[in-house]
Symmetry: D2
Subunit: 122 residues, 4 copies
C-alpha cells in the first residue's frame, strides 16, 4: 500500500468521525509528541542491548509495532494537512545531508555538521 | 520512491559514515524525540489559524518540510533496525481504530476509546 | 518543602526499590520525554481558550497536577544525578535571556534571539 | 531563591516583552516539548556511561545546565499560568507512588504499577 493510500484511509477515518476540526497542524504536532512519548516509555529503562532485542519477543514486537504505527499515522496526517510530500522531502534531506556530512569527515563521529566544519576549519 | 528504497538510502548513508554503531533503537527514539522537538518549536507560538497557513509562505514551507523530513528519516531508520513494516503496522492500527472508535459514538468528540466506552456503558 | 528535600525524597524512593541502577541521565531524559508526552496528550485537542480553563474543572486540574508532578519529579531526579543546581541554572538563564532579548526589540514578537538580531542588523 | 521568586522573575520577563499573550498552557506545553527535545539531542548518541560522565567536562556541564534550565523555566511558567503548586503536586505524587509501588514488590524491577499488581495477582 502506498503512502497516499494510507493518508486517504486516515483522512476518511477522521472525516467519518467529524474529527477534521481537531486536525490543525499545531494539534497534530502535539498528538505526534504524545505518541513519541509512548514510544519513549517502552525504551526508557532498557539497556542498548535490550532495546535491540525487543522485537525478538512477540509481546515486545507487538507493543513496538503499535507505537511506531501511531507515530507514523500522525506524521502522515500532518504531512497531508500541510500538503507536504513526505517521501520527496526525505529524499531531498538525505541528499542535503550527503553534502553536509562528507563521509571522510564524519566517519565514526556523531557530531552536528556545524561542529564538524568548525573542528576542521582553523 | 518506495519506503524500502528510502530506508536503503538512509542505511547506506549511515554505513558509509560508520554510524550504524550509534543506531540502536533506544538512541534512535531519542533522535526522533529531538526532531519532534524541533517541529514543535516551529509551531509553539502560532495560533491554530497561523499553523494551518504556515506552508503558504515559502520560508515556512521550507522549514516545515525539513523538520517533517527529519522526523520521517529517523522513523524509517528506527523501523528498519527493528525490522518493523511501517505501512503494514499503520494499516493494522487503522483497522483496529475503526473497531475502537465506532463512527456513531466518536462523532465530533476527541476522547480516548476507553473513555468513549465508559461514557456509554452504565 | 525545598527542592533539595524533594530530591532526597525521590532518591530515597528509588533507593528503597533498588532503582538507582535505572537512573542514568540518558534513561531519565527518556522518562522525562514520556511524561511530557502525557502532558501533551491532555492538551492536544484543546483550543487555546480551553487550555487556559482546564484547571477550573476539578477533574482537569487533577490530571494536570499529576502530569506536571511527574515531569517535575523526573527533572529533579535528572538534575540530582547530574549534580546540577536547577534554581541557580534557571536564574542564570533568565539573566542571560535579559541580555539576549532586549525588551524594546522583543516586545510582542515571538522570535528567536538570533533572528531578533538579524532583523535589526543591516 | 524560592520557586515562587523564580516564577515572578519569569513572569516579569515575559510581561516586559508583552509575551503573556503567547503563554497559553497549550503553547507552553509545546515550548516545554521543544526544550526536552534539545536535552534529548545532547544525550541521544551517548552510551549510558558517557551520559553519566557528561557534567565532568566543563563544556558538557554548561550545555546540560542550560537545557535543564530551559526545561525548568517553561515548567515553572506553565505551573504559574495554570496556578498549580509544583512542589505540593510533586510531594503528593511521591506519596501516591509509595502506595502504588510497594518496595518489596518493585525491588529491582522497572515495570508499571499496573503490571506490578497483575503479576502478583492470580
Amino acid at each position: 500500500m502506498a503512502i497516499e493510500r494510507l493518508q486517504a484511509l486516515i483522512s476518511d477515518f477522521a472525516s467519518e468521525r467529524d474529527w477534521h476540526q481537531f486536525h490543525t497542524p499545531k494539534n497534530l504536532v502535539m498528538a505526534l509528541t504524545g505518541e513519541v512519548g509512548e514510544l519513549s516509555e517502552i525504551f526508557q529503562w532498557l539497556t542498548p542491548q535490550q532495546s535491540t532485542a525487543i522485537t525478538a519477543d512477540p509481546q515486545g514486537r507487538s507493543r513496538v509495532e503499535e507505537e511506531l504505527a501511531d507515530v507514523f499515522i500522525y506524521l502522515l496526517r500532518l504531512a497531508d494537512v500541510l500538503q507536504v510530500d513526505l517521501v520527496a522531502a526525505a529524499e531531498a534531506k538525505i541528499r542535503a545531508n550527503e553534502q553536509r556530512y562528507p563521509a571522510e569527515l564524519a566517519r565514526g563521529r556523531a557530531v552536528k555538521h556545524s561542529e564538524l566544519r568548525r573542528e576542521v576549519t582553523p
